[in-house]
């Protein structure tokens, strides 16, 4: 590959195509994924041209699409399903929860169901209440299901490739719409000049971002996906204005929960803020905080998330409903009693 990949979208596209090249069992299913269109957000662009016999554009049938992918996965294929907007995953919930995720255990571990459901989530594009949600929280904790979300500091294409080629069970792969156009982070440069980065060796890695040269961080921020971009800005503001240094832990594996990196950071900071775009109640952060507090009784904790409302169409409404850099800064200041 000589083409320089600069956005997360390009990385995902590259990762998808590489996976298809490596394994002839990779099959794509989804609505409007054929070239020249290449999918509503273009992640599948080029795939049908390169592998015409392995890309199936489907009718508007999210449940059947998932059900067919289950059947493919149980008979030697590695299907990758695109749900055009994550909001429609509700239609496939039965196939995900009562079929794909159950078969392996229910059939006494005699089958694998290696399928990946890719879908864009998130707001801030003015698409309104049925095209802007972050519904992944409803799928965290489903036994047998792995939920993954790329971000800008790890290789999103590799992450997708690993999910497609190495999974033995179903994976929900959640791509925030704004992440597509996000640049791949260059740590120590540009926006990221103050930060150092450590990425663990996990299959779906966790990244730890700290302020370079700072020996003691005061607070742990846990987040995933696009919200890292907000977390970063908030951390910079707190560092410059308040001399509060936050260590940011970015997970790519949302479920099953593996919070080792967060716990390690908390040993030092004793303060935890979670950031996510879904509605506050029973979001990803609730589990993170519940686990953290079960493990360590003396923490200060706080969740930053959307207000529990549909996502209004108007930008003015999106702005008040969704989390923002300002709300994160505010929450951390409140938690630390800096106001």
């Amino acid at each position: 590959m000589t083409k320089t990949v600069t956005t997360v979208l390009e990385s995902l596209n590259e990762g998808l195509r590489t996976a298809m090249r490596k394994d002839p069992n990779v099959i794509l299913l989804g609505e409007d994924i054929l070239d020249p269109y290449g999918g509503a957000f273009k992640v599948t662009k080029g795939c049908s041209t390169e592998f015409p016999e392995r890309v199936f554009t489907t009718p508007i049938s999210e449940a059947a699409m998932l059900g067919i992918a289950n059947g493919l996965a149980m008979s030697g294929k590695r299907p990758v399903v695109e749900i055009m907007f994550g909001d429609f995953i509700t239609l496939a919930m039965d196939q995900i929860l009562n079929h794909a995720s159950k078969f392996h255990w229910m059939y006494n571990e005699s089958v694998d169901v290696p399928l990946v459901v890719r879908t864009p989530m998130g707001g801030r594009r003015g698409y309104g209440p049925t095209h802007s949600q972050s519904l992944e929280k409803h799928f965290l904790g489903i036994p047998g299901l792995t939920v993954i979300a790329p971000n800008s500091v790890i290789d999103a294409g590799d992450l997708l490739g690993t999910a497609i080629l190495e999974s033995t069970g179903p994976i929900l792969f959640v791509e925030h719409k704004l992440l597509y156009t996000s640049s791949i982070a260059k740590i120590g440069q540009g926006d990221w000049v103050d930060f150092s980065l450590e990425v663990d060796g996990a299959k779906y890695p966790t990244a730890t971002l700290g302020f370079s040269g700072v020996t003691k961080h005061h607070c742990t921020i846990a987040t995933y996906g696009y919200n890292l971009e907000l977390a970063k800005k908030a951390a910079v503001e707190l560092a410059y204005n308040d001399e509060i240094f936050c260590e940011i832990i970015v997970l790519s594996q949302l479920s099953p929960f593996d919070l080792a990196a967060i716990e390690a950071s908390l040993k030092k900071t004793k303060k935890l803020v979670t950031i996510e775009e879904a509605g506050l109640t029973l979001g990803w952060g609730s589990e993170v905080i519940a686990q953290a507090c079960e493990g360590q009784p003396d923490l200060l904790v706080k969740r930053v998330a959307a207000i529990d409302l549909p996502i209004g169409n108007s930008k003015a409404l999106e702005d008040v409903i969704l989390p923002s850099e300002q709300k994160i800064v505010q929450s951390i200041r409140e938690m630390l009693k800096l106001n």
Binding site: D32, L34, S61, P129, N313, A316, L317
Partner: protein, 301 residues
């Protein structure tokens, strides 16, 4: 019920101009999000909805502007909704595809509106109100299972519901041949629902057939379907048209409902009508543009 030639033309022209203006505002960045223009399909909305009464219910989909305007909705409120303003139909909360006014409803999940419409038909039936529900779906939406679940129940329970399938031969980029096996009429019939299919963009052909089908729903209380073969002249939403440009141009030449019906009008009637609508649209977008943005006002419920 409206039915004079000029009135029919006026509504179709209103839809056309509204959509053109909305698309224009998008390119200048005044509108965000997305929109699905109804241009080319105006005769469907007008031909069907002209036959409905105020007690009847309309459920519509992502491509709802034409249905809304044919229903009698305010262009200014729709423009404001698209712009995310507090004066919008639903205060900027819903946007282009999620609106409600009087007995008109739309939602952005393909197919999900169909049982909602059936539920309202059931309500009418239980109360003996005599009103019907009309639900508009596209060809692509026939991919959704809940549509068939609802057909079955509507037929079993004899619900006064009109299924309107606007077959514009594409679902986003997917041609109908890649999305629908068998036949649309055959599907309804398999569920015991009478289906009438038309191949026209002439409002004067749609209007009487819709009248007849709706009349039958009213008199028998049974569900029925109209399949309207039609064409959209613009992209699916904003700029995502993968169809051959020449082909679309030819469709427009042949099937433009405004052209077809416009020929029946005297210039003396048509021109003032168009001028009035043009002004209305300008005013609608102008007022929408200067309206306030919404806030939650501390009311998160």
């Amino acid at each position: 019920m409206m039915s004079s030639h000029i009135e029919l033309y006026r509504t179709m022209y209103l839809i056309r101009r509204f959509e053109e203006q909305a698309l224009a505002e998008f390119s200048t960045g005044k509108l965000v999000g997305t929109t699905h223009a109804y241009i080319g399909q105006e005769a469907n909305a007008v031909g069907v909805i002209s036959n409905l009464k105020s007690e009847d219910v309309v459920w519509s989909n992502h491509r709802c502007h034409g249905h809304f305007l044919a229903y009698g909705g305010e262009p200014a409120a729709l423009a404001a909704e698209l712009m995310g303003k507090s004066t919008g139909i639903v205060g900027g909360r819903g946007g282009s595809q999620h609106i409600h006014w009087k007995n008109f409803f739309s939602n952005g999940i393909q197919g999900g509106i169909v049982p909602n419409a059936a539920g309202m038909a059931l309500s009418s039936k239980i109360d003996g109100r005599g009103s019907i529900s009309a639900v508009f779906i596209g060809d692509g939406t026939l991919g959704q299972g809940v549509v068939y679940e609802t057909m079955n129940i509507a037929a079993l329970w004899q619900l006064p519901i009109l299924f309107v399938v606007e077959n514009n031969h594409f679902a986003q980029t997917t041609p109908v041949e890649m999305a629908i096996a068998g036949s649309i009429v055959g599907r309804f019939e398999g569920f015991g629902i009478n289906a009438t299919e038309l191949f026209t963009s002439d409002v004067l052909e749609i209007l009487p057939v819709a009248e007849q089908v709706i009349g039958k729903i009213r008199s028998t209380g049974c569900p029925a379907a109209i399949i309207l073969n039609t064409h959209r002249f613009m992209a699916h939403s904003k700029g995502d048209d993968t169809r051959d440009k020449e082909m679309v141009k030819k469709l427009r030449q042949k099937y433009d409902p405004l052209q077809i019906h416009g020929l029946r009008l005297d210039t003396a009637d048509k021109e003032p009508c168009e001028a009035e609508v043009n002004q209305l649209i300008d005013a609608a977008f102008f007022h929408a543009n200067s309206a306030d943005l919404p806030s939650l006002n501390g009311r998160p419920a």
